[in-house]
Symmetry: C2
Subunit: 285 residues, 2 copies
C-alpha cells in the first residue's frame, strides 16, 4: 500500500504522541516533531507508511537513548492479555467452530497497536475481544483460510504487536504447530512483538520462532534478512497479522498469503474497501 | 495564544483539506502538503496559529491562481444563514432577554469555520444554532458584556467568518449601532468575512464597516493597517469573535476586550480551560 497524503498528519501526531509517551522533555518533543516534518517534506509516497514509522521511532530511540522505550508497555500488554487467555482458550475449545472463533479473537487482538492509538486502555482491549465474541464471522474468509491451512506443508505466521501475540496464540494452537514458524521483529520498534514477547506469550515452547531482521513496523521484504526472505519465499502459507504487515505486503504478489487485521484507520479501511473497525480476513497475492 | 505542538498535525490536515477543496489537481495537493511541512519544520511556536494559516492559504491562492478560492463557500454560508435570520430575529425580539439570546446565537454562529472543519454541513450549522436556543447562557459573562456595552462610547466588533456574520447581525442589532464599527479582513483568507460578506449580511447599511488590512485569519496587530490600529487603540469596547481572533489577541493586555467564540478544538478549549464545544464569553486584558 502506498502512503496517502492523509497518512502524513497522522505521522506527525504519532511523532508527538510517541515522544510524549517516552520522555517528559519538551525539547525532545519539539525536536522530534521538527525532524519528522523535515523528513516528511521530502518523503516518497510510493513507499508504505511503516517506512516512515521506522525513521520516526529510530530517531525517538536515539534522542532518548532508550533502546526499547515501549518495553514496559509491551510487558503490560502481554500480562493483560495473558490474564484473559485462560478464559478465551476455554471458550474457544467449547465453541461450535473453534478455528473460526480463534481467527476472530486473533484479529480482534490487533487492537493492541500503539502506533495507531498511543493511549490504549484495558477497556478498549476487552471491548475489542468482547466484540469479536459477538461478531458474525466472515465464514467464506475463514473457510478459505481453513482450506489453505489444511493443504499447507509450511506456515509462516507474521506477528504484529506485543499483547496481540497472546491472542495470536489462540489461533496458532488451532494450526498444525509442527508446520508453523512465527516471525517477530528483529529489533524493538513501537510495541511490535520481538522474541521476548513470543516467549512471554508461551509461543517459543509451541512453535519455531524467527525474526525478520528489521526494526520496521511491518514487513518490507527488501529490508529483511536473507534468512527470513528464504523462509518467506519457501512457505506454502503466510498468515500476515495487523496493519503494518498489510501496508507493507498488500502489493506482494504471491500465492498463499492471508491478511488478518482490524481496520483501525480510515486510510486502511479505504484501501481494503471496508468500514473502520472491521475484523478483516483478506486473501492477498 | 502560542502555537501548541498539537496544532501542527492540524495545520497539515488543514493544508490537505483546503487544497482538495479548491482544486482537483493531485500535484497541487502534494506540493502544498510538502511546502506546509517544510515551513512547519522551522516555524516559531511563540506565534499564534493563524500566522501559519496565513502562509498556507496564501500559498493555496498562488498555486491555484484563485484569488478567493472560498468565495462560493462564503456566499453559500451567507445565503444559508440569511434563510435562518428572519425566524431567529423574531425569536430574539420575543425573548425574555433579547440581548442574552443574541449573544448566544452570535457565538453559536462561530461554528461556520472552514479552517477548523473543512466540510461543514447545513445540519451542523442548524444544530449549533438549535443548541444555542436551548443552552443555559453564561449569565455573568452576558451581564459583564451588557455593562461594558452600556458604558462604551465606541465599540469595535471584530468579525470572524462569512455566514457567521449573519448571526453576528442579531447581536449587532442589539448594540447602539451608531457607536459600532464592524471590522472585516482586508483580503480573502479561508472563509473569513470580507466587506462583500458584510454587505451580503446587510451590515453595511447598519454600521460602519472597515477592514484590518490583512489576510491573516485572526488579528495580528503588528501586521494590521495603521488605520485599523488607531481604531483598535481608541475603542472603549472590543468584541472579538471566533477562534482566530482569540488565538491572536488572547495575550493582548488592554481594557474592554471581550472574546465570544465556540471552543471548537481541544487546544483552544485547553487554553480557555473549558470543554470542546462550549459557547464562551471571556473578558480579555
Amino acid at each position: 500500500m502506498r502512503t496517502y497524503l492523509d497518512c502524513v498528519p497522522c505521522f506527525v501526531r504519532q511523532a508527538i504522541d510517541s515522544a510524549r509517551r517516552v520522555t517528559d522533555s519538551p525539547a525532545v518533543h519539539e525536536q522530534l516533531l521538527r525532524e519528522t516534518l523535515t523528513v516528511a517534506a521530502t518523503m516518497r509516497f510510493d513507499q508504505p507508511p511503516p517506512v516512515m514509522g521506522q525513521l520516526i521511532h529510530r530517531r525517538i530511540r536515539e534522542l532518548t537513548a532508550l533502546p526499547d522505550p515501549y518495553r514496559a508497555a509491551k510487558q503490560q500488554a502481554n500480562a493483560f492479555a495473558l490474564q484473559m487467555y485462560p478464559d478465551l482458550a476455554a471458550r474457544t475449545a467449547k465453541a461450535e467452530d473453534p478455528f473460526a472463533l480463534a481467527v476472530m479473537l486473533a484479529i480482534a487482538g490487533n487492537v493492541v497497536d500503539l502506533g495507531v492509538k498511543s493511549h490504549l486502555t484495558a477497556e478498549e482491549v476487552s471491548g475489542s475481544i468482547g466484540e469479536a465474541l459477538q461478531a458474525v464471522p466472515d465464514r467464506a474468509g475463514i473457510d478459505d483460510l481453513r482450506g489453505a491451512v489444511g493443504s499447507a506443508g509450511s506456515i509462516l505466521y507474521l506477528a504484529d504487536n506485543a499483547g496481540e501475540i497472546v491472542f495470536d496464540r489462540l489461533l496458532i494452537e488451532r494450526l498444525p504447530t509442527e508446520k508453523v514458524t512465527l516471525v517477530v521483529k528483529g529489533a524493538p520498534v513501537i510495541n511490535d512483538a520481538t522474541r521476548e514477547d513470543a516467549e512471554a506469550a508461551g509461543l517459543t515452547e509451541l512453535v519455531e520462532v524467527i525474526d525478520n531482521g528489521t526494526d520496521i513496523p511491518g514487513t518490507v521484504l527488501e529490508a529483511c534478512s536473507d534468512a527470513f526472505r528464504e523462509r518467506f519465499d519457501a512457505a506454502d502459507l503466510i498468515i500476515s497479522k495487523g496493519q503494518g504487515n498489510y501496508e507493507t505486503l498488500s502489493d506482494c504478489h504471491r500465492e498463499g498469503l492471508f491478511f488478518l487485521l482490524k481496520a483501525k484507520c480510515s486510510m486502511i479501511a479505504r484501501d481494503l474497501g471496508c468500514e473502520v473497525g472491521r475484523l478483516v480476513i483478506r486473501r492477498g497475492g
